[in-house]
């Protein structure tokens, strides 16, 4: 898929999911286990995205580089209850600084 179809399909499906909640009867998604799974779904995906964005190399292997140090900085900022933007900008700044010093 080239980029535009990807973007538009993602938009359409996201909207249909939102709209579905207004159209389907609530009992379809009730139930303890089902709600546990749907609560945990974003946790699993976001955790995997953190991992892949941090250590996936260009060729498909795993690499430890400035991104890992930046993620560590992000975790420290999150522990300090920093605001979202501070976390994102802070991590980017750590990676940029390390690369400027010659550490990829």
């Amino acid at each position: 898929m080239s980029t535009w179809p990807t973007v538009l399909l993602a938009c359409a499906l996201a909207y249909l999911l939102k709209l579905a909640g207004y159209l389907v009867p609530g009992r379809w998604v009730e139930g303890r286990r089902r709600s546990r799974v749907t609560t945990l779904l974003p946790v699993a995906l976001l955790a995997a995205l953190v991992a892949v964005q941090t250590v996936a190399g260009d060729g498909g292997g795993l690499v430890l580089d400035a991104r890992a140090a930046a993620l560590a900085a992000a975790v420290v900022l999150l522990l300090l209850r920093a605001n979202f933007l501070v976390v994102v900008v802070g991590a980017g700044a750590v990676a940029a600084a390390l690369r400027a010093l010659g550490w990829t």
Binding site: M1, T3, W4, T6, V7, A10, C11, A12, L13, A14, Y15, L17, K18, L19, G21, Y22, V24, G26, V29, R32, R33, S35, V37, T38, T39, L40, L41, P42, V43, A44, L45, L46, A47, A48, L49, V50, V52, Q53, T54, V55, A56, D58, G60, L62, A66, R67, A70, L71, N83, F84, L85, V87, V88, V89, A91, G92, A93, A95, A96, R99
Partner: protein, 257 residues
């Protein structure tokens, strides 16, 4: 009509919101909406850094309008993943908005065109502010005002971020690839309150790391969704039978399997 009258009892159909409560809800909505809208700048910058153009970035904020899913589309494409993997990850992350809609539809009472607009504004923040109010008029005000404030702020800041990101040039030099990982971590952080959530995150990270060298980019993330199934469908032990709700508000009482 009848159901709400019955529920309201002697208060009549629905008392209007007192002025101080109204001001309180407006302030909360604008605060949450403004703070969240500001994050749009990071999405805009990261999206163009991962190879989308300004128009595609803006369309995601206008039409997809759900932060986690938008970051996922940009992140998966930027990491060299295929369109199908990007759409699948984005859509799986968007499932929660449908669940929010089940809750908001109960107090919004919308139909027709208003329902179509309400659906687009059904995201984490509008739902949280709406559901957080005790009385229905405040729930509706909180939902709509928060949703609209986020929408306007998020889109304006996306444009700003995309233009700035384009001007910056090489994204790696500015650490924008690392900033993307931090954005996902910041989105994940508030969801890690229960033992189940922590177990899911650990399992998902393991699945993603182990499969990344062998599978096309983007696919390991989708495979990691299995972690939610494994942990979520696990038969709850008797000791946790009285844990209320899915988000497990009692961390620590649920040891990792």
């Amino acid at each position: 009509m009848s159901p709400s009258v019955a529920r309201e009892g002697s208060d009549g159909p629905e008392a209007p919101l007192p002025r101080d409560r109204r001001r309180e809800v407006v302030r909360q909505s604008l605060y949450v909406g403004g703070a969240t809208g500001a994050y749009g700048v990071s999405f805009g910058a990261l999206s163009v850094a991962s190879g989308l153009d300004v128009a595609q970035t803006q369309v995601l904020s206008l039409l997809l309008f759900s932060g986690g899913s938008q970051f996922a589309v940009a992140g998966v494409l930027g990491a060299g993943g295929g369109g199908a993997a990007a759409v699948a990850t984005s859509t799986l992350l968007g499932v929660r908005n449908g669940l929010y809609a089940l809750q908001t539809s109960r107090f919004l009472g919308v139909s027709g065109v208003r329902r179509l607009f309400a659906a687009q504004l059904t995201i984490d923040e509008s739902t949280a502010v709406g559901v957080g109010q005790p009385e229905p008029p405040a729930q509706r005000l909180g939902f709509w005002l928060t949703g609209l404030t986020v929408f306007v702020g998020w889109n304006l800041m996306t444009l700003l971020g995309a233009l700035v990101g384009n001007a910056l040039g090489d994204p790696r030099r500015w650490g924008l690839d690392a900033a993307a990982a931090a954005a996902f971590a910041a989105l994940l952080w508030p969801r890690l309150r229960s033992g189940d959530a922590a177990a899911t995150a650990v399992l998902a990270i393991l699945i993603a790391l182990v499969t990344t060298p062998f599978l096309p980019a983007g696919v390991p993330v989708i495979l990691a969704a299995l972690a939610a199934l494994v942990v979520g469908l696990r038969r709850p032990g008797r000791h946790e039978a009285d844990l209320e709700g899915a988000d497990g508000t009692l961390p620590g009482s649920d040891p990792v399997p």
